[in-house]
Symmetry: C2
């Protein structure tokens, strides 16, 4: 499938054409010129989907939980776009057979669209790609967009920051004891899930989390609820969806709503600029004779990298910063 | 302690003054103006230390392994600078008591300097901070610099790319089965460690790794050796140090040495430019009236973030890109 024009592509996607949406995502992956132009036309029509980030360590059962959430939203008649950023996620085809079979029920459902995304190497791009694909799914008209990430690195934290509601999945024991959780992960949670709540230590994990919340010196506007689930048996999934819905209502009526949307917009714009800068500076260092010479000077320690970075930014960006 | 001048700071650090080094690191953390100027004076004197990256999942025992390696190098009379990027590392004070006590033997040794570094939030900076601190430790005259990271996210992979030799610590079972390891982690390994080699499944893990290496269609210049260790008892640590030394010798004599150094220099310069761009664009979006207005337009979906990013880069960077 090729697009006759930028407008034709945008029109097809806005009409909910799944193949057109998938085609644009591949174009974005391959950095085909013109793909960003389509995104620009889509952007005014985005912002309607409810974007839910689900993050947790490998082994926390978050993929199973996502699968159950999809089924839950489907029974409510809602369509669901899924973006799996974890390369070992069953959504990405990288997991054990049982999980993959469980996902396949959704693969045959035209109301569910699954897209996976792997890390793209040293120059980043993961955050940008995620944002782009969420925009496409949103423009395609999906009611719910689920982003599943492994919640460990900064990249993953950045990704869930683009969600309306972030669900952090914990599991009793398994090395990720509550007190060992990175502060960053705690700060991004809108809803906590303690999955595998039927195993020993689940009550203690929930109690530890509640205890940490009690230690907050100032009560936040929204105190993240803690939902016990047993995703493998579907237990607690409706309760989780209920808390996510409560958080959505909170966002809609919160006095900080505009400020939140501005913060997210600034975050997206900064991320796009950062990655464009990376790409252009890297291109100049590799492709321009002055850039190649500068790298040799730094490697030989005749020029320091701080001076070189300023020089590279000036040469690569000034006059023509482009995404 | 304050520095009388940029040159005085550089001189003190080059003379190996531990307090001066620590002071500069704090200045870099706090982004004190002038700190980068000191780094620039240090840079021509760097490149003498042997930089060893040690990465592995939480629970792989890499902190214990680092502690054993430190002890090993100290018996050889070498000084060791340690940079712990994992916030849950005992080097960062974030771990169980037993580990912390084990580290304290080094804390009293003036030949060992330990510095920990946590993730610094949304605008990254982790890679830059790591590079800066490695330069300071190098200029201070440490023979060995150990960088310990949790080997999961792109940030951590980027960090170990600044090392001469990267040690990837695996452990049998525990969920990080060989086949589930991220490709990125495998690609960065110069030396593999299979720690906890006395538990069930260790032989299989080593065999799996060897099998994956056999599948390579082209034999690489350097085939990463696989070292079994039991870090808790110190077993295999001398063998590991031996393989690290062999890799150092390989690097010194490799025909690709210049190319490797150029790649690393380009990587450092691009990273500095990326983070400077982030910071300047973010500053403009928050602090400049046009930037603030632009963010509101994006939040209201009247301007798309792609156009906004180009506008922000032009406004924030053109004419005055600065680190």
């Amino acid at each position: 499938m090729r697009f006759a024009s930028t407008q034709a592509a945008a029109d097809a996607i806005l009409a909910g054409d799944l193949r057109a949406g998938a085609r644009l995502m591949r174009m974005l992956d391959d950095r085909v010129p013109g793909a960003t132009d389509v995104l620009r036309r889509l952007y005014p029509h985005t912002g309607r989907a409810q974007v839910i980030g689900v993050t947790g360590n490998p082994g926390s059962g978050k993929s199973t939980l996502c699968s159950r959430l999809i089924a839950h939203y489907r029974t409510l008649g809602k369509t669901v776009g899924v973006l799996a950023v974890d390369p070992s996620s069953p959504f990405s085809g990288g997991a054990i057979l049982g999980d993959r079979i469980r996902m396949m029920e959704h693969a045959a459902d035209p109301g569910v669209f699954i897209r996976s995304l792997a890390t793209r190497g040293a120059l980043g791009g993961l955050t940008r790609s995620t944002g782009d694909i969420v925009h496409v799914l949103d423009a395609m008209g999906f009611d719910i967009i689920l982003i599943e990430t492994v919640g460990v690195g900064q990249d993953e934290i950045d990704i869930v920051r683009t969600a309306d509601t972030t669900v952090v999945v914990l599991v009793p024991g398994l090395g990720d004891d509550i007190q060992a959780i990175k502060a960053g992960i705690l700060e991004i949670a809108d809803v906590f899930v303690v999955n595998k709540a039927d195993v020993d230590g689940a009550d203690r994990a929930i109690g530890d989390l509640r205890g940490m919340q009690m230690l907050l010196s100032v009560m936040p506007e929204w105190l993240p609820p803690i939902v016990p689930t047993v995703a493998a048996r579907g237990e607690g999934v409706a309760a989780l969806a209920g808390e996510v819905e409560k958080h959505r209502q909170f966002l809609l009526t919160s006095p900080t709503r505009v400020e939140r949307e501005r913060a997210r917009a600034a975050f997206v714009v900064t991320g796009l600029a950062r990655e464009a800068c990376s790409r252009q500076v890297d291109g100049w260092l590799r492709g321009n004779a002055d850039g190649v010479a500068l790298v040799s000077e730094v490697a030989a320690r005749r020029c320091d990298p701080y001076a070189a970075a300023e020089q590279a930014m000036t040469a690569a960006l000034v006059g023509s910063p482009a995404l």
